[in-house]
Symmetry: C2
Subunit: 203 residues, 2 copies
DNA sequence: CTTTATATTGAACAACGTTCAAGCTTGCGA
DNA sequence: TCGCAAGCTTGAACGTTGTTCAATATAAAG
């Protein structure tokens, strides 16, 4: 066999299998929650024997991690789609954009609740592979770019930290807000709080 | 047998067993993480047969929930101990107290990382029992009380929401900040960010 | 002390992720 | 066109898991 064909037929099939597997996993996660994912169900979904899963994916954690990164990719695309067209030259515009990013995050979380939750439930023992770290850090640019307009005199390091703080704060409000076991806050009120939070932090 | 003795010997033993079980569970969680809890290990720890666990606790979820509430109780006690002695008559004092609460939360999370994480990992299908909801809502008073001094003209409802927002924001910063899979931020810098966040939100 | 009711036990069960020897398919050289 | 080696796929089997329940041991009551 050739050592490493750039695109052999089997490699293509593996890619297709991987995508089918991820799609099936996402479907099941959305329907019944991430902890209800069963290897046997997924194998049946994509028409593969039980053991065959482990030719597509290293193990179940690997699968969850890939789903997570896929979700991050969709979130990234949403940020891009939702805010790229907004100008960012003045301070006020940058602030509006930051608010838009935060509200888009809230919307995404609400509309993709199980997948969104998964992003923070995945616990890994071994260090994250680089492609996973990249996908995660890439998201911060949607906060960092507007923030650099709002805080033009800040050092890059201070800016990175502050961007993380703002993102984390919004994340926290969304996270606790969507936790149903406490008193439910109406989504519009939550959105208002998120906007207030961003504007208060940027004054 | 009497229908319900106020304090029979067996009921006392059950209480003791429950406490031993919770303590053993906490120990294991702190040592090896919450998802490494095994029914057989715990049964051995407290000197009970495997099936005996289900006389003490309904099932594993029930156990985790009880550990969670215990942790919330310790957090509550820490808030009390750390901030009750601070006066709260002036606005500035109330603000200082709010900052103290937030920093205490951060410290608690850092020093009890596995137990603290568990509080947000427990996923319940059935609605939370009242005693669990109580313990959770009780924590908010440590934010609500100082905040009512800072926002004296706000309606009780607006105050509740704002308290939740502030708590959630701080929680988010702590949560993401302690996530090790991203770039580690020095604790002192994190603490600074938390204090900044509170003060920015209360201006 | 006998009897009755409760508490405890641990073997058994179903469901889970993961492995691996065996069979099957595939692609290439003759 | 055929045959053969190399990899892929399979599904039975394994070790763990949480949970159950008939049997046993213990405690309470008359």
């Amino acid at each position: 066999m050739p050592a490493k064909a750039v695109s052999s037929a089997t490699a293509d099939r593996r890619q297709a299998q991987l995508e089918a597997l991820l799609t099936a996993a996402e479907k099941r996660i959305c329907e019944t929650g991430s902890h209800a994912l069963k290897a046997r169900d997924l194998a049946a979904d994509i028409g593969v024997a039980l053991g065959g899963l482990y030719n597509i994916v290293q193990d179940m954690d690997d699968l969850l991690l890939r789903v997570t990164v896929r979700t991050q990719g969709r979130l990234d695309a949403l940020f891009e789609r939702e805010t790229a067209h907004r100008p960012m030259t003045t301070r006020a515009q940058a602030l509006d954009r930051l608010v838009a990013v935060a509200l888009a995050y809230f919307t995404f979380a609400r509309e993709n609740l199980p997948l969104w939750r998964m992003m923070f439930e995945v616990r890994i023992t071994t260090p994250l592979p680089e492609w996973a770290v990249e996908a995660q850090l890439g998201l911060f640019r949607h906060v960092g770019a507007p923030l650099s307009v709002i805080m033009p005199e800040a050092s890059p390091e201070a800016l990175t930290i502050r961007a993380r703080t703002l993102f984390s704060a919004v994340h926290g409000v969304v996270y606790i807000g969507l936790e149903e076991r406490l008193i439910a806050v109406p989504p519009q009120k939550l959105a208002d709080e998120i906007e207030w939070l961003i504007r208060a932090g940027c004054r």
